[in-house]
């Protein structure tokens, strides 16, 4: 929808999260470069760097130096001072130090970008097959899940990992919270991670958190039979800025995929929509959590 270079810049004075700012800045720089007919190699050379640096910048995966942004805009023939100052304002937002920087030692490098995207998103849709989504985990459940994956981890490190998860959840009650719309498989709700008591408390918390005006939870019951996403969990992050595409996040055992090309994200949006349309409605899902909690007791 924004064929004009510069058309996707945010209005003056708007603040976006650092990850969204990087993505917006990167996609604008790509447009300007392509419009100027300049190769990534030439652009990399111009800022005393490489083709791959340009590619990482344009994908919004790295921070931006003001000097690089200025030099690139000059190379691309962008003379409009309003565009330049909007781009530099974005570069400033892209450099904001986020709270998770202090946890850099325990966060896998492939997970950190997700935290930035999650914090910048306006809508988060997830499908969770095996575990309750991180944004909805109780502390006890988070502790049990964390210990599962990492044998021989020190208690201090577990504490810090759990602290990250709990801190993330502040997003749900922030001043301008994202809309979080999660579909969860009954399997994720029945697996008593941390024991029956922990799971019961987790289910009660789901019934409660679903009452938040910006949270929608839906359950795919076993009764529904096979479904479209039997393959695994995924999250779709959406950003309010028109120029920033949806990002599909898929976590694996030792890494993660971040998809943003429409050819790939269309497929996940389709599956998410089918799941949302065929699972229990939000109103039917809340009593489902309570019923399941009672069933676990017996």
């Amino acid at each position: 929808m924004n064929p004009e270079p510069g058309g996707g810049l945010p209005d003056e004075g708007t603040t976006v999260g650092s990850a969204a700012a990087r993505m917006m800045l990167g996609s604008q720089l790509r447009r300007f470069r392509e419009a100027a007919g300049i190769t990534p190699e030439a652009a990399g050379w111009h800022i005393r760097s490489s083709r791959s640096k340009i590619s990482r910048m344009e994908n919004g995966r790295v921070g931006f130096k003001d000097r690089d942004v200025r030099d690139l805009l000059e190379l691309y023939g962008v003379a409009d001072s309003q565009v330049t100052s909007a781009m530099l304002a974005l570069a400033g937002q892209a450099q904001t130090q986020e709270w998770w920087a202090q946890f850099g030692d325990i966060l896998p490098s492939w997970f950190e970008p997700y935290l930035g995207l999650e914090a910048s998103a306006s809508r988060i849709r997830s499908f969770d097959l095996q575990f309750v989504h991180g944004l909805f985990q109780t502390e006890a459940y988070a502790r049990a899940v964390t210990a599962l994956g990492l044998r021989g981890i020190s208690p201090d490190e577990i504490d810090r990992r759990v602290a990250v998860r709990v801190k993330r959840q502040e997003l749900l009650t922030a001043a301008k919270p994202p809309r979080v719309w999660s579909v969860m498989d009954e399997a994720a709700l029945r697996r008593p991670v941390g024991g029956v008591r922990v799971m019961q408390a987790q289910l009660r918390w789901l019934a409660e958190v679903a009452q938040l005006p910006n949270v929608t939870l839906q359950v795919v019951p076993f009764q529904a039979g096979g479904h479209d996403a039997a393959g695994g969990s995924f999250t779709i992050l959406r950003f309010s800025e028109p120029a920033v595409p949806d990002v599909v996040y898929i976590e694996q055992l030792t890494g993660a995929l971040y998809l943003e090309k429409p050819a790939a994200t269309d497929h996940y949006l389709d599956i998410m929509n089918r799941l949302s349309a065929t699972s229990l409605s939000p109103a039917e899902s809340i009593p489902f959590f309570a019923d399941l909690s009672r069933q676990l007791q017996t």
């Binding site: 005006p213 839906q218 089918r274 349309a277």
Partner: protein, 277 residues
């Protein structure tokens, strides 16, 4: 519970019927094409392609869909404000965007009750998840085709009080009801069911403004749509929807001109509002 699903139970259980049109992402779908024109991201390649085809024939469509949202806002503000209406029956919900009917109405009167009607399971899933009411009011979602007025009314009775005035809304929806399904009869059945003091609000595409471009754009769009087809109508046909009602000033006019400052925008859509005497 301020948010309800008045057709609960119909979901998810029926796997034998043919897949609903919106499940097919290889053909364009009206709600998703409209979403793309509005700058939304709930659309797929086939929708974007069809939407771009229309834009090529008629670039003004982008201003047109925004004008329709602005019309919705002005109309609901009038209904909830000056007209004092507290109940809304919104036929053809579409994919949620900014300033949906209940948000505009409940900003003025939080106790407003809104029934959204759509027959598309993905539109309904979005409405249930995202169009949530204030605590004082109510939003409900009815899974029904616009043509199935019996089903619409049967479900709406559970949420709306039919002894009190109701605003029936149908914005850029009737174009998807073909002539042989008699859109004028759908409207008259709905308006027969609501009491005196109720309102009808319509926006509908027309052959009579910017004729060549809209005809060309619509032909391109129809060639790419799934089962739904868009039918352009004359001003007289659109005026016919309001038979027996008292038109609210300024009557049936080009949509950007309805109760607002002079607007030079040319959009092939007529809009109007009528009150049931």
């Amino acid at each position: 519970m301020s948010t309800q699903d008045v057709s609960a139970g119909s979901q998810g259980s029926d796997t034998t019927a043919a897949e609903p049109p919106s499940f097919d992402i290889t053909r364009a779908h009206p709600a998703r094409v409209y979403d793309y024109w509005l700058g939304g991201k709930d659309n797929y390649e086939a929708d974007r392609e069809a939407a771009e085809q229309f834009i090529e024939a008629m670039p003004n469509i982008l201003a047109g869909v925004r004008a329709n949202r602005a019309f919705l806002r002005r109309a609901v503000q009038y209904l909830a404000g000056e007209a004092g209406i507290r109940q809304f029956l919104d036929i053809g919900t579409g994919l949620p965007t900014a300033e949906n009917t209940h948000e505009v109405a409940q900003a003025i009167a939080p106790e407003s009750r809104i029934v959204y009607v759509d027959n598309d399971p993905i539109v309904l899933a979005h409405a249930r998840a995202l169009l949530t009411s204030t605590a004082e009011g109510a939003t409900a979602y009815v899974d029904a085709d616009a043509r199935d007025t019996g089903k619409i009314l049967e479900a709406a009775v559970e949420v709306l009080d039919f002894s009190q005035p109701i605003a029936v809304m149908s914005l850029l929806v009737l174009q998807y009801v073909p002539d042989e399904d008699h859109p004028e009869e759908i409207i008259s059945r709905l308006m027969d069911a609501v009491p005196s003091g109720s309102y009808l609000t319509i926006s509908d595409t027309t052959t009579e403004i910017d004729t060549e471009r809209v005809t060309n754009g619509t032909a391109r769009l129809n060639a790419r749509l799934g089962p739904a087809r868009s039918t352009l109508r004359t001003r007289a046909q659109i005026a016919g929807y309001f038979d027996g009602l008292e038109l609210v000033e300024p009557g049936i006019v080009p949509m950007p001109q309805w109760r607002t400052l002079p607007n030079p925008l040319v959009v092939p859509v007529f809009a109007g509002m009528g009150r049931k005497p």
